[in-house]
Symmetry: C2
């Protein structure tokens, strides 16, 4: 069964070839950056085999590009850029997942092209740069940002990942003929696809650009990538206030996990300082992944030798319930996460897509102040909240020691049942439209 | 992918044939009593189709047997029984899952043959009958019970399900030539397999037996199916004391779920009153299933119109942690389960199989008295415990109102880290032997 969802599989039945088989599959895993499956039964696991193959390390780098083909691709990219009046860069999920961020950031600083991210590419570039232009998600995008992207005449789209949640339900509007689409194993210039790895292409492109600087000066970012509305302190906490405010809480060394749903979309409206790493899940959209993920993040931070500092989880309460026992592990392994729980009476994003008042969008009502005490009574933990107004949040964010308690911290944010980031409301409507349109197309005579 | 683990699959793409396709798959599900897969995409789900096929009900009964073949099988079974000195009946998991329990209980009362169950068949027959002989699990079986089974010369094994956990790791010892193996679609008499459904064979066999009673009088059950040791009140709570004691707590109308591990094995030592239904999972052995299952049990009881009374969960704490959020659902849907949690500092059964002191067999330490308050603060709930001694348990079981609080009740049983039912200790050793033996066989020259 694993064959359908892996890059390679093997079931080890013959000890003498076991090492070679396992290496074959692990090499494939590293090269493809995709999951593999190794079946090892209890009896085989006890076998003694030669350690000789350990001398050949697993391949962790990609095969080199054909130099001639790569030169041709670079020339085409340069020509496309030079002929363009307003070239831009979009840093997408594939850039993060396929580890080309150092190349990407060099390119962004070198060209000064207005640079954007998608939800999945968020934190991929330094948002403090003057040429950072904002977050793109099709229909859900802030108007100034949307206009700048969709009026461009050359788009370097690095690691394009056009999933439903990453494109505002396929409402992005960038024409293929003006796009240079960078992927792990290919680069597509307009309609023509070349089998070259983007990692090396980006490296060579940077070298070329250093030698002959691009003639045209790029467009300045005149719009505000993170528009902020102000609310008085007594107003009930709103997502429109929450996300921009949360930006001020983050600091270099934070690793942030945004749960699928309003959290992932909302965090797109938080301006990140340089040196923050953020992940969300806009591919499979499985809720519950985030609370589990922060355990891994916390452990990685512990092992990073001080390079990374705080594991931060932002999640809806419905998603958190699915994997809430992970809190017990955060406590017993002393991982010290800071958790923001959006308590808004159910699956808000689902309500906005379908079933506004449906009982299946309700979830259990927990006592968030009691969770750590129930799941890890022996370990220190702090509860903050409930945060009910904009003023409550402002006060908490200014509180000395908040986010620095050196132990598990949980913040309960109470939000309206149907309150959501603007991008979610727009995207929710787009999804509903999209589903209805599919029906229209398939209804006989419809 | 679903094809590998289902009896039938379909992905609906064509509205006019959708109803027929779905019916085909549902019929297969009912006939095979196995899972099926129906793929229905959002656009197709909105289609209007004719309701005419609803007039043909889904087939819920099996196809009739070939009458001639069935007569032959009955004759062979009767001949086998008549020639035997000590015929017995074993009621196994397949009897429960394939819904032949009314036939089975009739057969057991009619023949008075000593009757046994396996772990997976537990609660399949009335344990108050004088001919109930005990629970069979190979090496883990009580000596008197084991002797009675393994010395029999004709075994009617109904719904035989020879999985590892259901056979004490394949240590059952009943010869094929003396076995009549009843399955959903076949009956095997000795070495010869006939394609007849056991349900109809059992029905016809009962009719035959009513007409001409079996000549030999069966062996009496002279051994104690549930041997009990006594402990003084001050002794630390032990599994050897726990399981027999728990038998006295159960009453008609209870539905009991035993979690995989010590709970499922231990409950084999609890004598059940007539009218208790019990489930465990000795096929896939997935821990965590039980806490989720009791939600379904609770809802079924609510809908049973008073026929069934109390949902009772017995689980280790490590297993419960995996699906602990189900407690929130039990509370908010007012399902009123009674939960016994064996708090014994980790995965005891795993420690007994492999890794006695391994850190990976440790689990988080919860405050069980705080769980309901954290996961459903608005709902009534009772905590009992911690129960630390045999006397504590005796006292609790006699407490007026215990198990009748009309709300969620949780009992925390504190047990030794390596304490386990005798059957688990014996089976754990058998599993270790089994794995080692497999290695011996495969090591070159070993």
């Amino acid at each position: 069964m694993a064959k359908h969802i892996t890059a390679a599989t093997t079931v080890i039945t013959n000890p003498p070839t076991a090492a070679a088989e396992i290496d074959r599959v692990l090499n494939m895993m590293m090269r493809e950056s995709r999951p593999v499956y190794v079946g090892l039964s209890v009896d085989i696991a006890y076998e003694m085999i030669s350690s000789a193959p350990l001398a050949s390390p697993i391949t962790t780098s990609l095969l080199q590009n054909n130099p001639e083909l790569e030169r041709k691709v670079i020339a085409e990219i340069l020509s496309k850029i030079e002929r363009a009046a307003e070239p831009i860069i979009i840093v997408d999920g594939g850039a993060v997942r396929h580890q080309v961020l150092s190349e990407v950031n060099e390119l962004v600083e070198l060209t000064s092209f207005p640079t954007f991210v998608t939800a999945m590419g968020k934190s991929g570039v330094n948002e403090e740069l003057p040429n950072f232009g904002g977050v793109y998600g099709g229909a859900g995008t802030h108007p100034g940002v949307k206009e700048a992207i969709e009026s461009s005449d050359a788009v370097l789209w690095i690691g394009n990942f056009p999933s439903d949640f990453n494109t505002g339900e396929f409402t992005t509007d960038v024409k293929e003929e003006i796009t240079i689409d960078f992927q792990r194993f290919s680069v597509k210039v307009g309609e023509v696809k070349y089998n070259v790895a983007m990692k090396y292409v980006l490296g060579s492109l940077i070298k070329e650009l250093r030698q002959k600087s691009v003639s045209k000066s790029p467009r300045n970012v005149t719009w505000n990538p993170f528009p902020v509305k102000t609310f008085s302190d007594s107003v009930e906490l709103k997502q429109e206030f929450l996300w921009p405010s949360l930006g001020s809480f983050f600091r270099p060394g934070d690793i942030v996990i945004g749960e699928t749903g309003t959290s992932a979309f909302g965090l797109c409206d938080s301006k990140l300082p340089k040196g923050v790493m953020m992940f969300n899940q806009t591919v499979y959209g499985s809720i519950g992944y985030a609370t589990g993920s922060i355990v891994g993040v916390g452990q990685s931070i512990k092992e990073s030798g001080g390079k990374w500092k705080r594991p931060i989880l932002v999640t809806g309460e419905g998603s958190m319930h699915l994997t809430v026992q992970a809190i017990a592990d955060m406590l017993r392994w002393d991982l010290r996460p800071i958790i923001f729980v959006l308590n808004n009476g159910g699956y808000t994003i689902e309500r906005l897509i379908h079933g506004k008042d449906a009982s299946y969008n309700e979830v259990a009502i927990y006592d968030y102040s009691a969770l750590a005490k129930a799941l890890g009574p022996a370990h220190p933990a702090k509860y903050h909240g409930p945060v009910k107004t904009c003023g409550d949040l402002t006060k908490l964010l200014k509180e000395p020691g908040f986010g620095d308690a050196g132990c598990f911290e949980l913040v309960e944010l109470v939000l309206g049942r149907l309150d959501a980031p603007g991008s979610v409301i727009k995207t929710g409507a787009a999804i509903d439209e999209f589903n209805k349109a599919k029906v229209q197309k398939t209804v006989p005579g419809g």
